[in-house]
């Protein structure tokens, strides 16, 4: 397999001494890391396969320090990679070898929880779950709940437009953030969005959310809080084959139901999870569906009855409805623990994040099963079925020569199939460095060029998170050359080298 090096192709002429001297003028000693042993913990994020050691890690405590750091880097021409908790799965926070990591870890205060207006103002280093915990006394919560919510931070959620298991009904980060405060690479502070709806001008909030640290550094986030439903119940359904389970998902939507959560796990996933969590999953089923209903007790009863009816006629072989909150949490525990559970049965795993139209699910799963043979690697599948967002977990062992390369190729094939089936290479994990080549499959030259122009409108010297999220046209030409689909090249206008 010919892969293009996934290290960033951008290089900068950073003078390490000059950079250190400048940063020392801005930050007190406890906010600046320069020694290799201190830098080492920052060399990767949740995607540990890609590592790079930065020249410095800054841990500012005030917005003024963030402004000064960015101004200094802009003047010196030094790249900056912003970082939250480092739980991201696409290498978006992987450092640049000639650059600075700007950690927002110390921006960890919840500034305001406004019960009446149902919103919270938080610093970007606040953990996702902490927002809901702070809002809980008021019967409110922050809806997006990525699986990493106990650790991941709001700043990172904004950068990645994180989802979770409830986003079909409650939306992604982009639907739940009202306003951000952003520092530009030139050290200018912007307020984008507001506590009032429909902020004037272009919807820069939409542009900022999911921009993977490429456009600015967020120093404050205002999020929407929503009333906690009185009750939630989950139906667990077993299916003897995955295509029936896929059809059942479509049948629920066709019946006019938007469940609070709609998740699928295949047999390999339940087999990994059950010994670990003892959630009570049906290990004989080819796939299980978890369908959650929330709302008032009356609403939940009505919806659960309809869901049960739909799933039964869709051919579910077994159905169980959670009878208590403890049981509901147990049903979910297995799904939420799917990644660590798979981590227990394999030395390493590689998590993918493609989205596909729901109706293509059976096709995708059949193809993945063929790929398992082709690459001689096992794969367990968990699926945000309601949103069409698939997380295949490819199991491999770094210690075995060639396995990582096969896992990488396996993953790339899944992502490219996602695009071919009408979907996307990433639903919620971001492009980062990991999927930079697959961006060349998802988009053609004009769109990529438009992305580069947008980037330049915010950061014309390309100092914020260089080499991530949007590939250079040359990278795509190179990738296309090695990877010609159906005989047509994607970038015929570019010179080959």
């Amino acid at each position: 397999m010919n892969t293009i090096m996934l290290t960033t192709e951008t290089t900068f002429q950073t003078d390490r001494q000059a950079l250190a001297a400048r940063l020392k003028l801005i930050l007190p000693a406890h906010c600046l890391l320069l020694d290799e042993e201190d830098l080492r913990p920052y060399e990767c994020d949740g995607l540990t396969a890609y590592r790079e050691l930065p020249m410095a890690v800054c841990l500012p405590e005030t917005e003024g320090q963030v402004v000064d750091i960015l101004r200094a880097c802009h003047q010196l021409g030094v790249p900056v990679v912003a970082r939250g908790a480092g739980t991201g799965l696409s290498g978006g926070a992987m450092p640049h070898a000639q650059g600075v990591v700007l950690s927002l870890a110390r921006f960890n205060k919840i500034l305001r929880v406004d019960r009446e207006a149902r919103l919270a103002v938080v610093q970007p280093g606040v953990r996702n779950l902490a927002v809901s915990e702070a809002a809980a006394p008021f019967g409110l919560y922050y809806a997006p709940d990525p699986s990493s919510q106990i650790a991941c931070t709001l700043g990172g959620n904004v950068a990645e437009n994180s989802g979770g298991v409830h986003c079909l009904k409650y939306g992604l980060t982009v639907h739940n953030v009202l306003r951000v405060r952003v520092v530009s690479i030139e050290g200018e502070v912007f307020e984008i969005g507001s506590e009032a709806p429909d902020a004037p001008g272009y919807d820069l909030l939409a542009l900022m959310i999911g921009s993977e640290g490429m456009l600015g550094v967020v120093t404050e986030v205002t999020v929407k809080l929503v009333p906690k439903p009185e009750l939630a119940q989950v139906v667990m359904a077993s299916f003897a084959d995955v295509s029936k389970a896929g059809d059942a998902v479509a049948a629920i939507i066709a019946a006019g139901i938007i469940p609070a959560g709609l998740e699928m796990m295949d047999k390999a996933a339940t087999a990994a999870v059950e010994p670990y969590v003892k959630a009570g999953y049906d290990l004989n089923a080819a796939a299980i569906l978890l369908c959650e209903s929330d709302g008032t007790p009356e609403e939940v009863a009505e919806e659960i009855a309809r869901v049960t009816e739909v799933l039964t006629s869709a051919g579910a072989s077994d159905l169980r409805v959670s009878q208590s909150e403890a049981e509901r949490l147990r049903f979910w525990a297995g799904r939420k623990a799917a990644f660590p559970a798979v981590g227990r049965i394999t030395p390493d795993y590689y998590c993918m994040d493609g989205t596909i139209p729901r109706k293509r699910l059976a096709e995708m799963l059949a193809a993945i099963s063929e790929m398992e043979k082709k690459y001689s690697l096992r794969c367990a599948n968990v699926f945000h079925a309601g949103d069409g967002n698939l997380h295949p977990l490819i199991m491999y062992d770094t210690a075995k020569p060639g396995e990582w390369a096969r896992a990488e190729a396996f993953g790339a094939e899944i992502l490219e199939l996602s695009v071919a089936l009408g979907g996307s290479i990433t639903g919620e994990h971001g492009v980062g460095i990991e999927k930079i080549n697959q961006m060349c499959v998802q988009y053609k030259t004009p769109e990529l060029a438009a992305f580069h122009r947008i980037k330049a409108a915010f950061d014309d010297r390309g100092l914020l998170n260089p080499g991530k999220a949007v590939p250079s046209l040359h990278r795509c030409a190179e990738y296309g050359r090695m990877h010609v689909h159906h005989g047509d090249t994607k970038f015929p206008e570019l010179e080959r080298f």
């Binding site: 004037p200 820069l204 109706k359 915010f458």
Partner: protein, 376 residues
Amino acid sequence: MRLDDLVSAIQAAHASQTQLRIRGAGSKDFYGGMLAGEVLNVAGYRGIVAYEPTELYVTAKCGTPLAELEAVLAEKGQMLAFEPPQFSGASIGSAGASVGSSGATVGGCVAAGLAGPRRQQAGAVRDFVLGVKLIDGTGQVLDFGGQVMKNVAGYDVSRLLAGSLGTLGLLAEVTLKVLPKPLAEQTLVFAMSEVEAIARLNEWGGQPLPISASFWHDGQLWLRLAGARAAVAAACSKLGGKAMTLETTAGAAVNAQKHWISMREQTHPAFAGDILWRLALPTNAKPPGLDGLRAIEWGGALRWYAGEASEIREAVRGAAARAGGHAMLYRAPESLRCLEGAFAPLSPALLALHRRLKKSFDPQGILNPGRLYAEL
């Protein structure tokens, strides 16, 4: 009309540096800033390209009338949840197309980014935009987003385009997320002062109640509940004693529907008058101390004021800003809108960023110049 026709028109305009004014049905000619440039009529580029009810999306060409689109969705029990105005009939005010017009188009709806009564519960227009086929100011066709619910590959340009008023490009085709219609709806009416309505709406908003719309005008608050039958019934009895009328018969339900349509279409008398300010505020903002309150929508987040002379503009904009929001000169003679700017002014730093973005999509500045801001 074919996509190529629109592409050639913009390419030609780009080559000759001719300013264009993109126009669908013209139902929102009253909206925003200056109307400048040669009219590029896109109403002929119409039709539904794809509709997949179980995938919850519809893709339509820009000239497709909203009424036509929503009729197709209704056949499958689905809807555009942001409840956009169609401005198709005779209006009380000067808003709206001429009588007999087919009303707002899908492209204009997304370009204007105007949502209706369900906005507070369901979200804004941009929240439902999944993908856009854009023709930029050089006549280049660009595809952003797609048809899936979750897609974080690349910058979210599709949502950026919602509300951009055609200044970044022609939204030739849009893909929107659709949702099932609620199983049950019921409207309650309460006698209530402005201050009390704001307080109650915020109090209810913090509870798990199925409120899908609110409208206050002249001492009365209309509250629409929507969702599962049992949830609506339970909420009605909970909010109970305060209801002035409770519609239980089919006839009354139709009346309620007409009532909400009159709010969505702004044919309700609350929207009458030559000058109308639209204040977007935090839901719980205290009354901003202005005269001429006409209506409150969106759980308190949207407040309409009748205006008179233009000299009050600073007072209105200042009051909105102090309350944490912003004021738009929603309806006024075009000369006044051009003079004062329809939208709340941007900070110099934000305006500079807007200009750079505008330039990156429309380097010659030929598309809808001045429609959003005079500087764009």
